[in-house]
């Protein structure tokens, strides 16, 4: 059967062939749309990226503001009804405080008779969107201007919701930027190996094997620990990103290499070379487009690894450091069982990690399936 169709293909006129290659992308698109989880996950990822971009706007409060009267306050639940009846407008209950005389901790309960109404687009504290546009409109807030703690507050009375929103920015960008760097490394090294083959290929493969055979976390930890303590937040951010990509490129390089190897044998590359195209042109015009879909899939699947690693490193205090806010930094607060038992909401940033990583994995999986001509 396969031979038959190939025989037919060879006799097709170029116009029809162009039509068929175009429909190849179309086909991949359809296949991707078939993967329902991947489609939903794409929406989630886009949402997270929007949150990252507009963190100042989405967060109801400044993430650094300490409020001593809200230390370790539990999350307020958004409600539409309570014992006093139904309300079209969402509201939360106000806190009531009591002091445990033995531990001297504040014990919070909710005053079910009180209602703090929530509203979209309220005036809040001043901020600069993208550090450029001054504004004070927040996505949502309370009518009274009273702070609201949807995810509770930490031990300094900072709003965890706002902090998670800001953390989204750092954690997502570190994943994406790290992958871009990895990608550059991977495509250069993997491309060289795959294109030239021979001794270069062998060396690159051995290096990849080496890097993959050592447990990465200790290596990461070691590198991260070597980042000087007196570096600024921005420096640490980039140092960590570079460290992530230094170890993360191996898998990408493998994908690129194997794609190159299989393409190298293909006739059209040979034909282009015979016709005098320079090697550079061959690589970029003829080889790149044809495996781009695989690489996109591999890249997408590499982002979650980066996010997970950043989270782990920061959690251990070896990655980003406060006052930088990332999901991992936030989880540092939940490091011991005592604080987790008393303030379990401190684990909420972990939920965001899981959602982000899960969605990116699904998107990557959908892309890979779509790119694979052999899946149905």
């Amino acid at each position: 059967m396969a031979q038959n169709t190939q025989g037919v293909e060879a006799t097709k006129d170029p116009k029809q062939l162009r039509y068929e290659t175009a429909s190849q992308w179309q086909l991949m698109w359809w296949k991707f749309l078939d993967h329902k989880l991947a489609v939903i996950s794409t929406a989630v990822v886009i949402l997270l990226l929007l949150i990252a971009a507009f963190a100042e706007f989405v967060a109801p409060q400044d993430p650094y503001i300490h409020r001593s009267q809200f230390v370790n306050a539990p999350p307020q639940v958004i409600r539409f009804w309570d014992e006093n009846g139904f309300s079209l407008r969402p509201f939360v209950h106000d806190y009531e405080r009591e002091r445990d005389m033995r531990t001297l901790r504040t014990i919070y309960t909710f005053d079910t008779d009180s209602r703090i109404y929530l509203r979209f687009f309220v005036e809040g504290t001043e901020y600069e969107l993208f550090s450029l546009i001054p504004s004070s409109v927040r996505l949502f807030g309370t009518e009274s201007g009273e702070p609201v703690f949807l995810f509770g507050a930490d031990r300094l009375g900072r709003d965890l919701f706002s902090r998670v929103i800001y953390g989204t920015r750092i954690s997502m960008t570190i994943g994406f930027i790290g992958v871009v760097l990895s990608f550059v490394l991977g495509i250069t090294i993997g491309g060289l190996a795959g294109y030239y083959g021979g001794i270069i290929d062998t060396i690159v493969q051995r290096i990849i094997e080496l890097l993959m055979s050592i447990p990465t976390i200790p290596l990461w930890m070691g590198l991260a620990a070597a980042v000087p303590r007196d570096w600024s937040n921005v420096q640490v951010y980039f140092a960590i990103t570079i460290i992530l990509s230094l170890i993360g490129w191996t898998n990408l390089a493998r994908v690129v290499r194997s794609q190159f190897l299989s393409l190298r044998e293909e006739d059209f590359v040979m034909a282009a070379q015979l016709m005098g195209a320079s090697k550079f042109r061959v690589v970029f015009l003829h080889m790149l487009p044809s495996f781009i879909s695989y690489v996109i899939a591999a890249v997408t699947l590499a982002i979650p690894t980066m996010i997970l690693t950043e989270t782990a490193l920061s959690f251990l205090g070896l990655g980003l450091r406060p006052p930088t806010i990332s999901w991992g930094v936030l989880l540092q607060e939940a490091q011991n069982i005592r604080s987790v038992a008393l303030t379990p909401w401190l684990m909420i940033p972990g939920l965001f990690v899981v959602i982000a990583v899960l969605s990116l994995n699904f998107v990557g999986d959908g892309l890979r399936d779509a790119a694979d001509p052999y899946t149905q």
């Binding site: 200790p218 979650p304 070896l318 490091q335 069982i337 899981v354």
Partner: protein, 328 residues
Amino acid sequence: MLAYLLRRSVWMLVTIVLVSMLSFILIQLPPGDFLSTYIAQLSASGQQVDAAEVAALEARYGLDRPVYVQYAMWIRGIVTRGDFGQSFQWNRPVSDLIWERVWFTVILSGASFVFSWVVAIPIGIFSAVRKYSVGDYLFTFLGFIGLSTPNFLLALVLMWLLYINFGVSPGGLFSQEYIDAPWSLAKVWDMLQHLIVPVVVIGTAGTAGLIRTLRARLLDELNRPYVTTARAKGLSAWKLLIRYPVRLAILPFISTVGWVLPQLVSGGIIVAIVLNLPTVGPMLHRSLMSQDMYLAGSFILIISVLTVIGTLVSDLLLAWLDPRIRYE
């Protein structure tokens, strides 16, 4: 076979040498050498710096010599005297501190590894044979969640659940009364009980990947002609499955040891920190936090070497099980 064995062993040696260089680079990375940090620490705490001691340390580790000489001296110390260097934080030789912890690490990684296989193999087979069934989707979804949850978070959540439901905090590897007790059956039993949570947590991370690998492999193998041949012999469905496609799908699965083991060891380190297990994890963490680099570098070296050896063992196992490699 002999050639294969030889080739793998040589490659392992090369890997170990490279790993040792990497570890040494890590030791050297923080600005200043450990001695100056040590001296700075001592003076900061107002202690007297003993010039003779400094000179002795300097000579022992060749700190005044070029880096490659220092590396050579470090390695020579390890190979000839088992001397990994000095931990200035503990002010003791590194080798005094690590071995017991390395031993626990090996136990923990080994147990997690067995756990992940025991879970992954039946589920992988089920998922492949009942492709696209409800069960397959369920396991795939759970697998994805497992892949997406950081180990330490899983550990935290489990600990929290145990704590609020049973009031126990499952940290450590032994109950209070056994920590310093001599080894006995009761102590081993106690340890096994404490191992459950960490093993489940660490093992789960690798399991998802293993299930997916096995499922994909088995789906490939199920369509091979030899399966049809065997079916045409009249074998029962179950025997056929186990003797033919599973037997072959397991082979590349064995080579996953190469990436599962490093992953487990990695995961184990973080989980051990959260659960406060007496493995290398917490100590490595502490040493890195305080840039006690000889200790940290030695840990990284030992863990990596053990992992590489584990991978070699799995390679040999694979060769033993796969006649195609054995007779290469």
